[in-house]
Symmetry: C2
Subunit: 262 residues, 2 copies
Amino acid sequence: MLTVIKIGGNVVDNPTLRQQFLADFAALPLPKILVHGGGKIATQVAVKLDVETVMVEGRRVTDAAMLDVVTMVYGGLVNKQLVAQLQALDCNALGLTGADGGIIRSKKRTGWNVDYGFVGDIESVNEEQIKRFLEVGLVPVFAPLTFDPALASMLNTNADTQAQAVAVALAKHFEVNLVYCFEKKGVLTNPEDDTTVIPELYPSTYAEHKASGAIYAGMIPKLDNAFKALHDGVKQVTICHATDLRQAVSEGTAGTRIRLTE
Amino acid sequence: MLTVIKIGGNVVDNPTLRQQFLADFAALPLPKILVHGGGKIATQVAVKLDVETVMVEGRRVTDAAMLDVVTMVYGGLVNKQLVAQLQALDCNALGLTGADGGIIRSKKRTGWNVDYGFVGDIESVNEEQIKRFLEVGLVPVFAPLTFDPALASMLNTNADTQAQAVAVALAKHFEVNLVYCFEKKGVLTNPEDDTTVIPELYPSTYAEHKASGAIYAGMIPKLDNAFKALHDGVKQVTICHATDLRQAVSEGTAGTRIRLTE
């Protein structure tokens, strides 16, 4: 089983949570892959560098100056700090962007009503190259940056989407468990109550929870994407809190496990 | 023959020179490795981030804030831009620091009369890991950063020294040509006259040029290091201008080639 884990800015930004998460991640069996989001550091660095942060409909617009900032912060500071912390935990991390080894190619987003700038939609994943890294015991750690060959440029890329594309591409070679660590304990029937985690979710129970209104709003696109990953060959999607990684992945006693069949 | 090429800040900082150099580098046969210096961008970013640049005896002092800056700029911005440019030239570049894959381990410099902060002296190079990358056609591109396992930290590292350590380590497996690109056309008998390049240098002729005073001052430690690399197993050291890479490496019609025997 290959484990592909996505962590967001909440883990990146919190030194205590991050160190605990990385210790748990380091203890997981090989093969495994980490995909990290950016965190607030990029915004803080951008402010100091006089680069304006423009958000449109909740998304960051990436102009050329902001692309430099996210390349520095996501591809440099955050990625290399995570790699160094993992190496110190005896986890043989290899920091990557989509440009390295030509692994994740993307295309600048066009045709939307908003120009998001240097933002990429993933076109292809070179899963053979990733597999070669895994085969020699390396642990790829991906920054949320991909490569547009037409522009000869990095592109800012959504980390959730990137984790999913990597997981789907590697499903040709591995049984893949795609794990999303986020701020909640899992998929909840009451978003205000962390004790209402749904431990297992299948297409039938997902439909029931939607019909009853227990699952709604922001969770629906996340879960639709999870089921899409399963239909594209991923064996299991796990949604859990970053502090519950070990229980959710190794023991199956925390978080929500999503599969097509029981 | 494995070619290990070091470029300095003058190439990194100049878009025209950089693009021409990278096109020449991309055209060289495999296997090959690039080691890059930092350039002035780190100082510019440090100024904007209110991180003070302290130089002692011509060396940058790297405190914790400056380590973040060089990790961002060298490991992120510069390294990933070089990788993206090379990928666009169909060169399968893989950006690395010494932390990635645990490839270059170092130790914080101590025992000097000046505390240079987070500056590393290289302790070991994992040449087997680099060899595995080369064997599958990847082109390692190293930022001047290494990894101190005791501190769980990146360390700022001299790019010349890093190139030499990588070249010496790989001399176990390859005939290595270590190429230093710098601002001059090669080793000159008159530093003011670019037409006075010494095409070939051996221990005997080096001694003669030193005795006659033709080679002096700043060039002597560079050449002592070059001869040390040769004694440590490197086959040839080439010193040339970044614009002459093709002639110096492929044709042997530019720059200075340094060997132990003719």
